[in-house]
């Protein structure tokens, strides 16, 4: 045992070992902090995984005291905590929460912040690590980073670390992402930069690698020889409620969902096995997938492979819904897509010729995110005369949310004299098999950031490669003389007819969810 090792830490090895630190949240009075971050920290505390002498500082513009801030967060925690709210634990946990009022662009505010953090260190009798969480509006990221640097808060002292967590959206195109990356790189080293994508914190997203690489049943078949096509669906049955239209109309489905969440899922499904499970090994393989995406350049290629659409009036769950352009805070002449479907090809040995279909949209019939792997059909010679159901390929479905789990669809003989076959489903559900609820994605990701594990965070080259691909589509839509059309679908339907046609051209159909 060296003098510096914790001799008792072997008991913590099964858990994520967060290092003692102070977390500073910028944008601490916002919805994300109230709804997600504080309940996540509280639940990490409830599981006993918060590091000792933990401190959390909320940094925001509004004037308030520590007590008022804690009271507001307590109300949010009561509503949003996964494991409920325990007064005894909250009272202890909330003592670690403090509030610091400042404008994001005010250098004096950062000097005061530094004094506050130094004061915490004196009280602890040791210097702490520091984690800066950018949960503010994205336009504030750059000034915050500059101010942190000017105040000297971007480097750890006495061998401690200083890290930054950036919330999405990380840029709105390649140029802005590069500028933001440059600002981050000017302030923090890449190893200390954690770009959060909460999809990667979901249990089923993490299970994709286990499913693929730890099961001999799937690992040898995961390639173009056996897989016919892959579909990734992210359906939402909501529109622009709660004033979301203002932001959404400046982004659209492609930027808001595909560039980050769905490309992350695509990477996990299509990546080669990493040499080990270190953050860089995994991310090296993921970024190769994005780089290998066959580029869609020009309006013709985009028009042939990408369908964009807006919903018109319709109904969801029996409730009438207005069309996208009639939504609150949406431009009545908006050219922003509320739905997008893409046909992508990954030009690698493994995936040659296999189409990857992605669709994401608002006001669809149900809320569901899932990946389906459609296997090629066997020759079926012995069953040439047998009656087959219309869709007879084996399908493996990975449900990301809700009802996380995995289903495998296979053919079975129907009981009776005739040789008729029927699709049957083998279904694994996390909730019914494992009674314990999975931690929220943010709990896992915050612990990882405090523990220094960046595996589930996007790296700079991943983000920029994804934007590079997305930018070509955006350019074809918004900058070309002959942009592909904006299609329409009634709210409550499964998207525009053109998206169905996109698959029909290949002899495929969207999976029925």
């Amino acid at each position: 045992m060296s003098d510096l090792e914790n001799p008792f830490e072997e008991t913590l090895l099964q858990r994520h070992r967060a290092e003692p630190c102070t977390v500073v949240i910028f944008g601490a009075t916002g919805d994300l902090t109230n709804r997600k971050l504080i309940p996540a920290f509280y639940n990490v505390a409830a599981c006993g995984d918060l590091p000792p002498q933990f401190k959390l500082v909320g940094f925001a513009r509004r004037e308030k005291t520590d007590e008022v801030f804690r009271k507001e967060l307590e109300e949010g925690n009561r509503k949003n905590s996964r494991q409920g709210h325990n007064d005894e634990l909250w009272n202890s946990f909330s003592q670690s929460i403090h509030y610091h009022r400042s404008e994001f662009e005010d250098p004096a505010g950062y000097v005061q912040l530094k004094l506050l953090l130094d004061q915490f260190d004196r009280e602890r009798g040791t210097t702490a690590n520091r984690l800066f969480y950018l949960a503010s509006a994205p336009e504030a990221f750059k000034p915050i980073l500059e101010m942190l640097k000017a105040a000297g808060l971007n480097h750890g002292v006495d061998g401690k670390w200083a890290r930054v967590v950036c919330e999405k959206p990380f840029g709105k195109d390649l140029a802005t992402a590069r500028a933001l990356n440059a600002a981050v790189a000017d302030t923090f080293e890449e190893k200390d930069t954690y770009r959060i994508d909460h999809y990667l914190g979901k249990e089923t997203a993490q299970n994709i690698m286990v499913l693929r690489f730890a099961n001999a049943l799937f690992e040898p078949n995961w390639n173009s020889k056996y897989i016919d096509n892959v579909q990734i669906t992210c359906a939402e049955n909501l529109g622009m409620e709660g004033g979301r239209g203002g932001y959404y109309d400046t982004a659209g489905a492609l930027r808001d969902m595909v560039q980050n969440h769905l490309f992350q899922l695509l990477s996990l499904v299509a990546m080669e096995p990493p040499t080990d499970l270190s953050a860089d090994s995994v991310r090296d393989e993921k970024v190769k997938v994005i780089r290998a995406l066959r580029p869609l350049i020009g309006p013709e290629a985009v028009g042939a492979n990408v369908i964009r659409a807006q919903y018109t009036a319709g109904s969801v769950d029996g409730v009438s819904r207005v069309g996208y352009r009639q939504e609150d805070r949406v431009n009545p002449e908006s050219q922003t897509e509320a739905y997008v479907a893409l046909r992508l090809f990954i030009d690698t040995w493994r995936w040659q010729g296999v189409p990857f279909y992605i669709r994401v949209g608002k006001q669809l019939p149900k809320k569901a995110t899932e990946i389906s792997i459609h296997f090629k059909k066997p020759p079926q010679v012995p069953f040439a005369t047998a009656r087959l159901p219309g869709s007879s390929e084996n399908t493996l479905v990975i449900r990301i949310q809700p009802d996380e789990g995995i289903a495998l669809r296979i053919l079975a003989k129907q009981p009776g004299q005739a040789l008729s076959m029927q699709q049957v489903k083998m279904d694994f559900r996390y909730s019914s098999s494992f009674g314990k609820a999975s931690p929220e994605a943010y709990e896992r990701l915050l612990l990882d950031a405090m523990a220094g594990d960046a595996t589930l965070f996007a790296r700079r080259d991943e983000v920029e490669s994804a934007w590079k691909f997305i930018d070509e589509i955006e350019h074809a839509w918004h900058r070309s003389a002959t942009p592909p059309p904006m299609c329409e679908y009634p709210a409550g339907s499964w998207g525009p007819k053109e998206a169905d046609d996109l698959l029909r051209q290949d002899g495929h159909a969207w999976r029925l969810l």
């Binding site: 914790n6 008792f8 290092e19 006993g48 590091p51 325990n86 005894e88 202890s92 009798g125 494992f434």
Partner: protein
């Protein structure tokens, strides 16, 4: 104490042993709203009639979080003549408000039950391809024999319930050493100290506190008088992690540290309260205490180091046997820390 028919009625529907599978099938066919779920075979074995009701309740709690085929075996070897009875039951819980997910429970009362009969009822009623976890309650009697333990994946014991832990650990060691055995051992006495070990590890994440560890002079553990095994295991683990060696020449629990100085362990027994109530580590400029108040869900960690004090509240993990078992079932693989500390623990008993 003989089992009354009223007591046995709580086990569900009595069925002939030969018709258990058919009865289970009928149980599921009769209600399509129920989904059967199973990840493991969990067998509870007891030779105490008075534990039957309690075990039945335990299974209801355990299956709420762990989908399994549950086998509840009450074996009464001394009762004559030999007779075996069985009951089936579905242990259900709501899932997402619209569906019911159920585990199956098969209960056996084996009057005059011998090793062969125990093996037969267990091995004839397993959910195939799923691991077998056996919670063997009480002493490792003659029914715990090679043909039985050679087929199980995980053995759960509770050394705190043993009258003669030395003898039982010797039996267990012999079983573990058998060429055919492959089971992991999980001791609930070890699980009971999990929250204290975690709290201690957390407290020494602080480098300042770690600097004072080599100067540690004493360790005090307060425990319920029936939980000496849990306290000894905890003390053994701490001293082992510090590289200290038991000084068998001295009376009491005195250890010699790597620098030659002594470290004294004091175990304080109480007659009430939870199994492990407090732990104190004392050095000249350091005192770390982990305390659990009553049956609180939390432990308080107080650390005073070079004049700086701080307090943390951490979860106290689990209290009931059902929670302890669920904790074990949620972990994969055995505890190497436990295996390492066991020889020292036996010396300390």
């Amino acid at each position: 104490m003989p089992l009354s028919e009223d007591t046995l009625a709580c086990l569900g529907t009595e069925v002939p042993l030969a018709k258990i599978d058919r009865a289970l099938k009928e149980l599921w066919d009769s209600d399509v709203a129920k989904t059967r779920a199973s990840l493991i075979n969990l067998a509870i074995y007891s030779e105490a009639t008075e534990s039957l009701i309690e075990n039945n309740h335990l299974l209801a709690k355990i299956t709420a979080e762990n989908a399994c085929r549950a086998l509840l075996i009450t074996c009464l070897p001394e009762v004559k003549p030999q007779r075996a009875r069985a009951w089936i039951n579905a242990l259900c819980r709501p899932y997402q408000g619209k569906q019911i997910v159920c585990s199956e429970q098969i209960s056996f009362v084996l009057e005059g039950g011998d090793a062969a009969q125990v093996q037969n009822v267990v091995f004839a009623h397993l959910d195939s391809d799923l691991p077998l976890i056996v919670w063997w309650q009480g002493e490792l009697t003659k029914n715990f024999e090679e043909r039985f333990y050679s087929r199980i994946g995980t053995l759960i014991i509770d050394s705190s319930t043993w009258d003669d832990p030395r003898r039982e650990f010797a039996s267990l060691g012999a079983a573990k050493a058998a060429e055919t055995s492959h089971f992991d051992v999980r001791d609930l006495s070890w699980t009971r100290s999990h929250f204290l070990r975690t709290a201690l590890a957390n407290a020494f994440q602080d480098i300042k506190a770690r600097e004072h560890l080599p100067k540690l002079q004493s360790i005090e553990i307060t425990h319920l008088n029936t939980e000496r095994c849990a306290a000894v295991l905890l003390a053994g683990w701490i001293t082992q992690r510090l590289g200290a060696v038991l000084d068998e020449a001295q009376s009491g629990l005195v250890f010699q540290k790597t620098d030659g100085t002594s470290l004294r362990v004091t175990l304080i027994e109480t007659l009430s309260g939870c199994a492990l109530q407090s732990l104190r580590l004392i050095a000249p400029c350091l005192e770390v205490s982990v305390t659990r108040d009553g049956l609180s869900s939390f432990v308080r960690v107080n650390a005073t180091c070079e004049g700086h004090s701080h307090e943390e509240l951490l979860p106290a993990d689990v209290v009931s046997d059902a929670e302890l078992i669920s904790e074990q079932l949620s972990r994969s693989g055995g505890s190497t820390h436990y295996s390492k500390v066991l020889p020292l623990m036996v010396k300390m008993l």
